[in-house]
Each structure stands twice: as C-alpha cells, then as structure tokens.
C-alpha cells in the first residue's frame, strides 16, 4: 500500500549534515548539531529577527541531536512555541504544532475508523491520528499548551515519551516503531500543578508520572533587560537607533515593574515581551508613548489597579499618565 511505500521512503530520510551552533544560532559554544539540507513542506519559515535564549536553545538542540523529550515551561508571551519552531526552521527539520485543548480526545490523537468512499462503495477504514502519522516520519511534533490537555487523554503518549518507546495501535493490532528522526516537544505555562496564580484559567493539573518522563524541562521566563530590548529592536526597527535606546529602556523597565507588581499581588495582569512589542508597534502608529501604553496595556488592567500602573509609568518616564491619582 501507499502507506508502506511512504514509510520506506521516510525511513531513508534523516539529517545529512551538521551545522555549527555558533554560526546558526549565535550562541557561544563549539557544539555541532545535525540538520537537513533540504527544506520540506513542514519546515517552518525562518524569522531572521528571532533572538535565541541560550539555555533554552541548548536544551532544544539536545532534544533534536540526542533524541531527548524536551518540555519548555514559561509565562505567556515569552515565545516558547516560536522558540521550538525557529530552532526547527534553522535545522530544516519538519515541525508540526498541535494546540491541545480540553476537547482533544484519544481518537483525535491515535486515529479512528471513518466511513470513506472507495469505488463507489462506502467502506469503514482506519485513519491514523496525528501521533501515529508523525511517529513514522522525521518530524518534530510540538504539543502546544500541554497543560490544557486532559491528563487522562495525555496517557496516550506515555509510551512514546520513552526514547525507543513503540506505539501500539490497538484498533489495528499493529505496533509502530518510531522513526529515528521523530522528536517530541511540549510547551506549557504551568509546571503541571494547575492554575496556581489565577493567570492560566483552564490549565490542568498534570500527572507527574508523565511529567517525569520528559527528559529535559527548560524554563523560559522573562529575559534580562538588554536581551528584551534587543528583541524589541529586532521586531520594531524604527526604534533600533541609539537615540531611542533610553525610551526602550524605560519601556522595558515599566514591564519589569508590572512583573514584580504581579509577583507581589498588586496587579492581576502583567506585561509580557509580546505586550512590550505591541506597545512599541503602537508607538509607531500613535507617536505618544503614554497613549500607546494606555491602548496596549493599561486598558487591559482592572480599573482599581490602574493608579498603580500609573505610578510605575511615572517612575520610568518621569511624566504622568491620565490614570494616576496625584494625591
């Protein structure tokens, strides 16, 4: 059948060269990692402006090079999923992202019997789900929002979390052997303990027997100020000149204060790097930092918290926001 033929073709595919991490990712290490020469259909687009975080990139590269299962945990807007995607893009490694949600069922992941039309006849045929499909191909499978998946359903992937774990298709009495270049990644907001801080509504508590099977857990949290500034500069080139550096520094300082305020329980929202980028973009549209700030962040805050945000703004910009209550 075509399936087997496909498998035979896929089996031969694999990374055919190695690349230097220093050149491709700009990280100071002598490591070389395997990569593909040809870009397949599933290889994500390269974003030249993307800045790699050293620790997380090394963790992901270990996942690609040594077949480790890597989970990336971090607050929202820190670019976890993009990070995996961009590493795959640089290695020309096909990559498929699946957004998990509470309604993904075992049938979706493993496959189901479906009625298809063949030669004018209705026949029932087994159709593979995404997991068996990806398992037999040189593909990096990324489970986004891993903690949104229902823990009982996630046991489906328990076996393939092991490095050479085979996958049994009960419906077909078949045992699948993973492709040697199959890789599995996951991104998550929480560490599997549920919605502790009230930010991540809908996050499930994960089974720790499963969390334990992830070989590497990388944490991507908010970056040092200089790195964050560099990211904003890369994203919004109008702000990249040296003269606007103090402005950017103040913007990132406000974001840092909101994060600390969140940690202290004063705010129930915080500014992610994504918010800072959209603030910078809106600044290009509106011209006024205070107005752009209000439209990008302040209006997302609870009304009672706005004076506090206005205090942060005054500290960093030395001017008043309309929301401030000046005594």
């Amino acid at each position: 059948m075509t399936d087997t033929a496909d498998n035979a073709v896929n089996a031969g595919i694999g990374p055919d060269r190695t690349v230097a991490v220093r050149e491709v990712f700009g990280i100071d290490t002598d490591l070389r990692v395997p990569a593909f020469t040809e870009r397949g259909d599933h290889v994500p687009e390269v974003d030249p402006a993307y800045r790699f975080n050293r620790d997380v990139t090394l963790a992901l590269l270990a996942g690609f090079a040594h077949n480790r299962r890597v989970m990336v945990q971090g607050l929202h807007g820190t670019g976890k999923s993009t990070h995996v995607e961009q590493v795959a893009a640089r290695l020309n490694w096909p990559c498929i992202r699946i957004n998990l949600d509470g309604h993904i069922s075992r049938l979706d992941l493993v496959g189901r019997d479906a009625v298809v039309l063949r030669d004018g006849q209705q026949v029932t045929e087994f159709q593979e789900g995404i997991v068996p499909w990806a398992l037999q191909r040189p593909v990096a499978l990324v489970f986004d929002e891993y903690d949104a998946g229902r823990p009982d359903v996630m046991f489906v992937i328990q076996r393939i979390l092991e490095r050479d774990g085979r996958f049994t298709l009960l419906d077909q009495n078949r045992v699948l052997r993973p492709h040697r270049c199959f890789r599995l990644f996951a991104t998550t907001n929480t560490v599997g303990l549920g919605n502790l801080n009230g930010l991540y509504h809908g996050a499930q508590r994960l089974n720790h027997a499963q969390v334990d099977r992830w070989n590497i857990v990388a944490t991507l949290n908010y970056l040092p100020r200089d790195e964050e500034i560099a990211i904003v500069q890369a994203r919004v080139p109008q702000l990249a000149d040296a003269a606007r550096r103090p402005l950017l520094e103040s913007m990132v300082a406000v974001a840092e204060l909101t994060r600390k305020g969140f940690a202290a329980g004063d705010l129930s929202t915080l500014m992610s790097p994504r918010t800072v980028i959209s603030w910078a973009e809106n600044l290009g549209i509106f011209g006024d930092p205070a107005l752009a700030f209000r439209l990008s962040f302040v209006n997302k805050c609870d009304e009672a918290e706005r004076p506090i945000v206005a205090e942060y703004f005054q500290r960093c910009f030395d001017r008043e926001l309309d929301e401030s209550c000046r005594g």
């Binding site: 103090p246 103040s250 300082a253 329980g265 942060y312 500290r315 910009f317």
Partner: protein
Amino acid sequence: MGEAQARARHQQKVEELCAAAIRALAGESDLHFRGRRLHRGRHALPPFAPHLHPSLDSDDFASFRGAADGLALRLSRSDAALHRRLTPEDPVARLVFNLLEQIRVESLPPAGMPGVARNLRHRFDQWSLSFHRSGLTETSRGILLYTVAQVCRARVTGEPVLEETEDLLETTRGSIVPVLGHDLAALRRHRHDQAVYGRHAQSIAGLVAEMIHSADDERDDGEPGGTDDDDRTALARFMALDDAGTDGELAVAAAGRSRVLEASDDGYRVFTRAYDREFAAAALVRRPLLLAHRERLDGRIAGQGVNLARLARELKALLAVPTRDDWDAGQEEGHVDGRRLAQLIASPAERRLFRTERMEPAAQCLVTFLVDCSGSMKQHAESVAMLIDVLARALELAGVATEILGFTTGAWNGGRALRDWQRAGRPPHPGRLNEACHIVFKNADTPWRRARPEIAALLEPVLFREGVDGEAVDWACARMHARPHERRLLVVISDGCPMDTATSLANDPHYLDQHLREVVLRHEQARDVEIYALGVGLDLSPYYGRSHALDLSAPPGNGVFREIVAMLGGRARR
C-alpha cells in the same frame, strides 16, 4: 469630622500607592505601611533617614513618591547586615551614618527610570526647605547637620546643592570641608561598594559627632545658653526618627504599650465578670421604638439607591466556591444520559443525548459584623446601621450566613465593677474594670427579614457607652467557632481604640489597646477567623492586619460598598 475622615482615607490611599511602588521597585512582596511606618511582614523597618517621612499636612504627593522610592532603593541596594555591623554606637554618629547610607543608595537610581531620580531629588529638596524654613538652620547644631547633609548629597550624587540655601552653607562648609575633605572625596568614588563607602561614612559620622559634642561641652562650661533649647530641638527633630536597632523587633504602634500587661504573669485580667451581660437587642429596646427606628432606617436606605443585586453578585463572586450540583441534560457531549436513549432510536439525528455535571457557586461562609458601640460611635450610628443592614441583606442574597453583634459596657466609668474594686481596698492592677455588655442584633440562624427590627436597635443612642474591644473580638470568634461554616470572616467596625476610663485609670492607658492587639494577632496567626477592620475615619492598621478606613461623613453609597468588597477581596492588603 468629615474632613478628618476624608484625610484618613486620603492618607491610606497615598500609602497604598506608595507601598505598591515600593514592592515593585524593591521586588519584595510583604512590604506595607502600618501606622505610617513601613513594615516587612509584621516587623517595623527602621526609619533609615529623616527625609523619608513626609506628612500629608506639609508635603505634596511627589514627596511621598520620592520617599517611597528612597525606601525601595534602601531596601534593594543596601545590605542591612553589613550596615548594622558598620553602624557607630554614638547616637549622633549613627544618625549621620544612616543618612549617608541613604544618600549612597539614592545616588544609584535604577537605569531606565528617570522618574525615580526626579522624585528623590524633589523629596530631598522639599525636606531641606522645610527644615530650613522652620528656623532650625539658625542654631549651631542645626546648621552643622544641615550642611553635612547638603554637602554630602551634592558630592555623592553630583547634583548641585539647593539654591535657596547655598549662601547659607558657605561659612559652615568652609569650616568642615578641610576636616572631612579626604573622606568626602572618597564617597563618590566608592558609592558602588557599600563596605568601602561605609568606612568613609563612619569616619565622617565620627568627626561630625565630635564637633557637636565639643560644642556641647563648651556650652556646659560657661555661659547660660539662650539658644540652647532651640539647638536641642534641631537635634531632636533630626533624631526624632532615629531609633536604629528596631529592625526585627515587633511593631510598636502609635497606640503604645502597656507596662502593666507586660509585667503581669497571668496576662490580661478581668477584675470581676459578675456583671457581664449578653443581651438580644430586642430585650434592650422597646418594640414600638424599634419599629420607629426601623422606619427611619428604611427611609434612609431607600434614599441611597444602593444597587443591592450587583452588590450581592460581587459578594457571591468573592465568597462562593464552585460546588457540584446536579446534572445538565440535553448536552452534545458528556456522560451518556440513559433516559435519552429511547429518543436516539426515535430520531437518530438527534445528538443531544449527553449530560454534564453542573457546577454552581455556593458560599460555605459566615460573615460576622462586630460593631463598636462606644460613645463616639453614636454620631455614626445611622451610617453604620445602614451599612450593616445593606450588607447583611446582600450577603443573604448571595447565600452567606451573617451575624450582627455589638459591644459596649453596662455602665459609664466602671459601674458596679469599679465599686466592688473600691470596696475591696483597691488592689493594684485589677485588670478590666467595667461591666462588659455584648449585644446580639442578629444571629446566624435568623433570616434578615425577621431580624429587621433588631438591626434597627443600632440606632438606639442609649446603648452607646464604652468599649472593651479585645474581649468582644474573642467573644465573636468563639461564637463563630460554634458554627459549622468552612470559612469565617469577622468584620469589626470601630472608630477608635478601646476605651474604658476606669480600666485605664486603674491600670495604665494602653492596657486594653495591647490586649486587643494580642487577641487579633492570636486569631490572625491561628488563621481560624479572617479578621477585617473598618475604621470610621481612622486608620486601624496598628491593631488589625487587614483594615480599611471608611469615610462615613456622608451616608454610604455604592462607592463605600465597592471599597468594602475590595477589602474582603484582599485588594486592600492592609
């Protein structure tokens, strides 16, 4: 009175904003103001430097911002242990040393925050001006300390000295700079290194202290000092805030401590409980009078236009937790609903065959209001009664049980308890000397509708006498313990510290104060009851961990209720 209440509210608002800024800047989450002092958790922090304590009377909001930023920098940039090790013994030297350390951290404002730098500068200038304008720079000690502060700050931060007093400094500057020159020069160079900076600051502090002490000696030697008193004031004003070493000690609130209570072995004492009474409100006030009060109260509440339904919804959102409650049938997914299977056969296209669990918010919660019925509360009686009546009704709508309790005394000035004490020959330290009187306006089992007349008894002026808060809080907590509810909230409404003349005279003025603090602390630590305090025009933070000042000079409207909901929701953290 209205003005005082508004001021207390304003002060609290400013402090909340400043505390939020300090928490974010210093990156510490348990910092807050209690009784105008910055606390870390339950411990008061040392005052650090004289210019970090602006007052609402004389200083603008920017000064508060500057002081907050100064405190935040001090907490985040200065190593407290190292600072303590280096601090000199002599009080004057210690004062100068503390100030120099503050100047050091203020010279290092965080990058990207020009507003912080401006706030700090503004605050220091304001403080300098007020020091100068109050005439303290005309005394010899005053001008010396002032010059040291100005010159050192200008040297370390590289900013110019205050223009208005620049000429004034010249003479003193001329005489001290040759002595301090070497260390002064080193300060700026080493401002990034606290240890090295500290050594130079130590030597400056020592030299300044020597100058002041030698000036003292000269004066003692001869001439009767006319300006001596003024001189001492200057120093006192500078030093007023300096009590280094309180770091780590328990908070000393404005209310003060009771020596008698601390010295006694068996703790808080009550001279006699023979006359203590507990009444139902209906037993204290005649029925027709209650009904008349009720009519008045209803008229007032109707005039306020409080949005009861919304208040009830907000309270429910706050206090209720989702609980499983029955099934929702006719769903497109979920558990198969056996009763619908026949329908599947009749109409195979119908897919709504499932049922899901329904989660409903339910409040397993008891809220008790404890009203201080002391004499001074009489003037707020109407507002307080309205407040409680509306809250009780809204809480009932939200499915929360409520109790309304009050405390007062059976008589003025000790009553029969005092008489017994006098007859017994006035033994020392008798403890509480009055007839405690506890009133139940509404218990948890009575619905609001039935308790309406009794709630109106809050308007009865005869009930308002004196108050023994600590015992009342204990009593309310004990009542709450007897109830099966999972969560218990006690809301104390009061306008002042505990007040009982006889007890204060026979023991000492802070006897009841300290007992109240101990009782509240005990319950807060046991976490059995969440205690909240609503201060009527007063900041109750010295007594209660979670308090909020209310402005009841106008009858309570939607705004006041929003504040209360916010306090219960933990947004007001104090």
